[in-house]
């Protein structure tokens, strides 16, 4: 039986399409109160500070504050539908829920004397078809979270990542998807540093797990996979490796295994440096970035040290040139995109070498507040600093989330401290490289898809 039930639905609002006509409110009031009194509608369109409109509506939150603060147990989250139900018989009319909600999604209905909130009209919300501009949509969200919640978490509780790091999220999602018939390799770095392999006889992982050397992950996994193939057993070979080991000292074994098309899923968690050992530079560190081995200083002879002086090695594109069974880039800010790729990578790993490169911001090493990880990851994509695409030899390279109207790269750079020292020349170098990289990948997408 599902722990969280099926996918959750919600009403999405596109403010750009809304002209404030109020037809949705009329529809809601009609259905729910038998009146056309818009003030009694459970969906409220209100003026926003920028002369547009905002939505006040229950979001059917995953972590609902209204439920938490209700002293009477009158509000409950339905595990199957995801809808937050209000029970009139239990309600004591204290209105604490209206204070708890950040979205003004539950409010006093003067006509009834009780609070009222959206119940999605049992899955057919009257407001949505009433909108003449298509500003409201009834959509399914978080499909993956609900599915994944039903799979076993194959890491133990209590892994010790830095506060605000999303790699633990990535690891748990990945291993849940790949499943228990797996041998997991985690070469030295943040992933075993969290305790996934373990310390002193304890382990953080429920599947067979080991530290390869930093240098030989792909080779050791190849040996394991081959022996199970030889004896006719279906076992997944999964690596969750850092960018340093993969792009620098472990690159030879990675390249060799890819060339031999060894059957495995090799995931690189790219935090652009040796963050576990104290934030040293790797070949995946971007130009201009401060690291502990590309520090910022006065320099000598009037030449200040201004961070890394070379551009990052583009490891996923190098893997494309190995003609792997599957290569993709992904970001923890776009989990549904990542999940689609994880599915395809896992499938491809049963035929040959599958490579998944996940950009994973490092709050400690990149110097940004611990609550900004997703925002930084998203900005990387929205500026085209990072591009999300996938490749297989039959279909070539294709963008999965193309960003046609990117934000200036400064929107990304200013989100963290490691770029704080950049000169205007350095920033323009980075912006020009973003343009150049985009053109290069587009050219590959065009050529290889043709």
């Amino acid at each position: 039986m599902a722990m969280f039930g099926g996918a959750y639905n919600t009403i999405a609002f596109d403010a750009a399409q809304c002209d404030g006509c109020g037809d949705c409110m009329t529809a809601c009031a009609t259905v729910k109160t038998g009146t056309v009194d818009k003030t009694r509608s459970r969906i409220q369109i209100v003026d926003s500070a920028d002369d547009g409109f905002e939505l006040a509506l229950c979001r059917q939150c995953g972590d609902p504050k209204c439920v938490t603060v209700c002293p009477a147990g009158a509000l409950t989250k339905d595990g199957a539908s995801g809808v937050i139900d209000w029970n009139a018989a239990k309600c004591v009319d204290c209105l604490l829920c209206t204070v708890g909600c950040a979205y003004a999604g539950i409010a006093l209905d003067a006509g009834s004397g009780h609070v009222a909130k959206c119940d999605t009209c049992d899955g057919a919300p009257a407001c949505v078809p009433a909108c003449p501009h298509g500003a409201l949509k009834y959509i399914t969200t978080s499909r993956i979270y609900n599915e994944v919640g039903d799979w076993e978490d194959l890491f133990a509780p209590g892994l010790a990542g830095c506060q605000g790091c999303n790699t633990e999220l990535l690891m748990r999602h990945t291993l849940r998807r790949v499943g228990p018939d797996t041998v997991l390799a985690t070469p030295p770095g943040c992933v075993p540093g969290m305790g996934s392999v373990g310390f002193n006889g304890t382990t953080g992982t429920k599947v067979p797990v080991f530290h390869p050397l930093l240098t030989n992950t792909a080779a050791m996994l190849a040996g394991i996979k081959r022996q199970y193939k030889r004896v006719g057993r279906e076992v997944n070979a999964l690596a969750i490796a850092g960018d340093g080991g993969a792009s620098d000292v472990g690159f030879q074994s990675l390249s060799g295994a890819a060339e031999r098309n060894e059957q495995m899923l090799f995931m690189v968690v790219d935090n652009e440096g040796y963050m576990n050992t104290g934030m040293q530079r790797s070949s995946c560190t971007p130009y201009g970035a401060w690291t502990s081995t590309t520090p910022v200083g006065q320099g000598s002879g009037g030449m200040p040290s201004q961070g890394k002086t070379q551009d990052a090695k583009n490891l996923p594109l190098i893997m494309v040139n190995h003609r792997c069974e599957y290569v993709a880039t992904a970001s923890t800010a776009y989990m549904e995109d990542l999940y689609d790729k994880l599915d395809r990578a896992l499938e491809a790993s049963k035929r040959g070498f599958a490579y998944l490169h996940v950009y994973s911001p490092c709050t400690t090493g990149w110097r940004f507040p611990t609550n900004q990880n997703m925002e930084v990851a998203r900005k990387a994509v929205e500026t085209n600093f990072v591009m999300l695409w996938e490749y297989n030899p039959r279909d070539g390279l294709q963008f999965t989330r193309p960003v046609d109207d990117p934000l200036p790269v400064t929107d990304y750079l200013k989100a963290m401290g490691r770029f704080r020292h950049l000169s205007p020349d350095q920033i323009s170098h980075i912006q020009s490289k973003v343009v150049e990289n985009l053109a290069f990948v587009k050219q590959m997408a065009h050529r290889q898809s043709a």
Partner: protein, 415 residues
């Protein structure tokens, strides 16, 4: 049983054996095939190359059923095999010289994980000076890394020892990787008559394969392999110490196991090789020379001639160099008044040969003064001839009456 002759054991029942003329590298490959590994990983390097070529051809011809991995370098070669062994495979490779140096990182780890991988070292001198020729410098350089290392004298011994190596490595009291060292040039390319054991007889000798009972990466037996052990913090270094101590115990156990398995081999196949230390014409000798590997053939000829000429000299050959057979060697050295040790490599730290350095430790344990000296010869593929060994014998004999020289004798210095 520390001494042996080449005579057949009286109770041996020699199995039907095919006779072939092969080079040492092919003999090693034939031995590997008979031991039936699941997985071999290869990367070519002179003078090992023809060995892995023979292995590849045996597999291509269907005469050997193993998964062959043409890895992109020695580092990955050994890493692939570590993975295979952890999944239950019997595994084999071969390397030498720079390849062994490149492999060092996983090489160190193999013994720590107690993986019974067998690897031939087709010994090659160390670079630089640049050289592609034989010498023991490669194997000597890694003698302190916890692998069992045995040195062969003849092509037949290469074939037989290669098979025995798997059984030694996989013995539950040992569970350590084994190097079978065969001299580059002299044994790798030297062609000799060999007797090839029957597959069924080898199968009976090898018994049931069981290589990952102690450590595995298997979803049916999930475990974390090699988690971080304590050091100066937390629970302290006791786990680490226990593992290291276990490695040393495995090494010491291997001395007995190597003897037992050589004895079983002699019983089954009628060929007896000294497992640890061989004495040759040592009875009645006043002094001895010590050898390692293929040089021993010429040395034995020189000993025969010297004995005929009335010199009271015998020979001690080391087969098992790691672990060093301290007790067995002590018994042999106790029979003589002086010893000259011939090394095919250099011990830079003591300005002598590495085997000489080890021997000095054993002489100290003897508790009486035995004059000794170091000879270094056969570097970079140089031949150590019967003539060279006569010089060794003469110089060693002088130890009985004159003070020992403080410098090593470099045998090929003027060749």
């Amino acid at each position: 049983m520390t001494t042996a002759t080449l005579e057949k054991s009286p109770q041996a029942k020699p199995a039907k054996q095919k006779v072939m003329l092969v080079e040492g590298n092919e003999a090693a490959a034939l031995g590997v095939a008979l031991a039936r590994p699941d997985m071999v990983a290869v990367y070519p390097i002179t003078p090992q190359s023809s060995l892995v070529e023979h292995v590849a051809k045996l597999i291509a011809d269907g005469r050997m059923d193993a998964d062959i991995v043409d890895a992109e370098g020695e580092h990955s070669v050994l890493s692939v095999l570590q993975g295979g062994a952890l999944a239950g495979a019997r595994t084999y490779t071969a390397t030498c010289g720079p390849g062994l140096a490149f492999m060092f990182e996983p090489y160190f780890r193999t013994s720590g994980m107690r993986l019974p991988i067998v690897m031939s070292i087709v010994t090659r001198d160390g670079i630089t000076p640049q050289s592609v020729w034989g010498g023991h410098q490669d194997a000597m350089t890694v003698r302190e890394v916890g692998w069992v290392q045995v040195y062969c004298e003849t092509v037949q011994e290469v074939l037989d020892t290669t098979i025995m190596a798997f059984k030694i490595a996989e013995h539950h009291d040992v569970m350590l990787p084994v190097n079978v060292c065969l001299d580059g040039n002299y044994l790798s390319y030297g062609t000799s008559r060999v007797e090839l054991p029957e597959q069924a007889e080898v199968d009976a000798f090898m018994g049931v394969k069981d290589v990952n009972w102690h450590v595995a990466l298997d979803p049916l037996r999930p475990m974390a392999v090699d988690p971080l052990t304590g050091g100066s913090s937390g629970r302290g270094p006791s786990t680490f110490v226990r593992y290291r101590k276990g490695q040393c115990r495995g090494m010491q156990n291997s001395l007995r196991v190597i003897e037992d398995i050589h004895e079983e081999w002699a019983q089954r196949f009628g060929r007896r090789f000294a497992p640890l230390v061989e004495e040759y014409r040592l009875e009645g000798a006043d002094y001895a020379i010590m050898t390692l590997g293929s040089m021993t053939g010429a040395a034995k000829d020189a000993i025969d001639e010297a004995r005929d000429a009335g010199r009271r000299v015998g020979l001690i050959k080391i087969k098992t160099f790691s672990p060093f057979p301290v007790d067995a060697l002590m018994k042999s050295l106790d029979k003589v008044q002086a010893v000259g040790v011939v090394d095919r490599s250099v011990g830079f730290r003591w300005n002598c040969g590495p085997m000489y350095q080890e021997t000095m430790g054993v002489l100290y344990k003897l508790g009486r003064h035995v004059p000794s000296m170091s000879f270094i010869g056969g570097l970079a593929g140089a031949d150590i001839t019967v003539g060279h060994f006569h010089r060794v014998i003469e110089a060693t004999e002088k130890l009985l009456s004159n003070p020992a020289p403080t410098e090593p004798v470099w045998l090929n210095e003027k060749d």
